[in-house]
């Protein structure tokens, strides 16, 4: 086959992670769909630059693209943090996908991202994250004074507003800190990953499905290189990313289901599920925090307005 385009993409997932395997599957699909014209070498997290430096590396032409959580770039513009993880907005991945494709999310994302030298091709997500906890959590009240790890950004802010005491720990210290009780709970990953890495064993009160976080994972690439692609290749990119997103969500949901059953069968892990009322209560606190972020930049304000009008039009918020 005639290989015409060869790109290097870096993932924000480590190589053994199921997300990475699925992303690799996407690169293969794309190669097939373009009759071998596009070949993407997918590199695991940190192999060329750190996870939060890929945007700069792509703009500089060092990498060609990335598959990464957009909230890592909240430090460049708070808008990235808000669009990537509007805590409380989505209760299903399809809602987010619909917002991105039909609700103007994709266009807005490109208006914000393109000046940085990148083109946004499409969105995916590992789905709703599960919450890892050492203590039973069934309501917003249970979060009071809870020492918990949350990553950078809105998630941390929302938990603080809900009365928890967020501790700023790096991912590499989550395991030992949970194990020894330095923290009681953590925002970590989806249920199946938490289960595989043994987090539910040391903190046996996971909340699933999570109520707090569903990251937008962007597939994007260097804008100049994107602009130079022929239209049929561009279409192939967009179509395969959309298919990949669906495939990832369904595969991981299946993995999660299996892991939940495994956890329940172990007899030592209690899976907690919040009532719709408690979820609504948490969502209300979260939306209050959106405004704070929106005030931080013009772009964030635009994200806020688009999001709220979309959610209102769909009847998802009153």
């Amino acid at each position: 086959s005639a290989q015409e385009f060869s790109f290097k993409f870096q993932s924000s997932d480590p190589s053994g992670n199921p997300n990475f395997e699925l992303q690799k599957g996407w690169t293969e699909t794309l190669e097939e769909r373009t009759d071998g014209k596009v070949k993407i070498e997918l590199l695991p997290v940190g192999s060329v630059v750190e996870y939060n430096e890929t945007q700069d590396a792509i703009a500089a032409g060092i990498l060609d693209g990335h598959i990464t959580d957009t909230s890592y770039f909240a430090g460049k513009d708070p808008a990235f943090g808000l669009i990537a993880n509007p805590v409380g907005a989505w209760s299903d991945p399809q809602q987010m996908f619909d917002f991105m494709s039909e609700g103007g999310g994709k266009e807005l994302m490109n208006e914000i991202l393109e000046p940085y030298g990148l083109h946004f091709i499409g969105a995916t997500t590992p789905g709703l994250e599960a919450f890892v906890s050492n203590v039973p959590l069934d309501s917003v009240d249970d979060l009071q004074g809870l020492k918990m790890r949350a990553p950078e950004g809105l998630v941390q802010q929302v938990f603080a507003a809900a009365g928890a005491s967020p501790v700023n720990l790096p991912g590499s210290e989550v395991f030992t800190s949970l194990d020894k009780g330095v923290i009681d709970a953590a925002d970590y990953s989806v249920f199946s990953t938490n289960q595989a890495q043994g987090l539910n064993e040391i903190a046996p009160h996971p909340v699933y499905p999570g109520f707090h976080s569903m990251p937008l994972v962007e597939v994007s690439m260097n804008k100049e290189k994107w602009d130079a692609l022929p239209d049929d290749i561009k279409t192939a990119f967009e179509e395969t990313v959309a298919e990949f997103a669906q495939h990832q969500v369904s595969t991981l949901a299946e993995n999660d289901q299996k892991a939940v059953e495994e956890a329940k069968a172990s007899g030592e892990i209690t899976v907690h599920d919040w009532s719709p009322e408690e979820r609504a209560k948490f969502r209300k606190i979260a939306i209050g925090e959106w405004e704070e972020v929106a005030a931080k930049s013009e772009n964030a304000q635009r994200v806020y307005e688009l999001l709220t009008s979309y959610l209102t039009s769909k009847g998802l918020v009153q």
Partner: protein, 194 residues
């Protein structure tokens, strides 16, 4: 025979903490003196961590700033530490062959090594400038310092990138001064012996 500036070196080693290379010049002495700022930063980082442990464990009131501040203090100390070692010539090197070279040839070798390191750090300083541009300007050219994106959201990433640029630029300049002084010493000795 003994090299004639060896007694100086020994006198320097007598002191509890070694001193900057004489060839590092005025800049070297300034960099050496500035070390205390970052040394204090390390002690401060220790105190902040202890404070965080106490607040969290005994008062259930973790701060949102302790860890980011600690990382920032450590990072600036690490970067400055590299510069500090350069002016003190305390970076680790393999001296198997280096030690065989003596006298004037050693000075020439020192000058060449410093020159090579100057070129490299000069390149890095230029690359750091490209990085800094993206950390302190928005795409439209207006100024916005890159923040960490956390709930506290300090502009540490921009500060640290700026600091890295400063360290690399100073390093390049320091290597230039070293190369110049080593070369001068090599030539001076040459005229003495001929």
């Amino acid at each position: 025979m003994r090299d004639d500036d060896l007694p100086d070196v020994e006198a320097v080693l007598e002191q509890e903490v070694a001193a900057p290379l004489p060839e590092a010049g005025m800049l070297g002495r300034l960099i050496d003196r500035g070390g205390i700022v970052f040394a204090i930063g390390i002690v401060l980082a220790m105190l902040i961590l202890i404070q965080e442990v106490v607040l969290r464990y005994f008062f259930n009131a973790p701060t949102i700033w302790a860890h980011e501040t600690t990382v920032f203090l450590a990072a600036t100390a690490f970067l400055y530490g590299g510069l500090y070692c350069t002016v003190r010539n305390s970076h680790i090197r393999v001296v198997l062959l280096y030690d065989l070279v003596q006298g004037r040839a050693r000075r020439v070798l020192d000058a060449v090594i410093s020159l090579v390191c100057m070129i490299a750090t000069g390149f890095f300083a230029w690359a750091a400038w490209l990085m800094v541009q993206r950390a302190i300007f928005r795409p439209d050219g207006s100024v916005r310092f890159e923040t960490s994106g956390s709930a506290w959201d300090p502009a540490f990433p921009a500060f640290l990138k700026l600091f890295l640029l400063a360290v690399l630029a100073l390093m390049a300049l320091q290597f230039l001064i070293l190369a110049f002084n080593f070369a001068r010493a090599a030539l001076a000795r040459h005229s003495e012996t001929t």
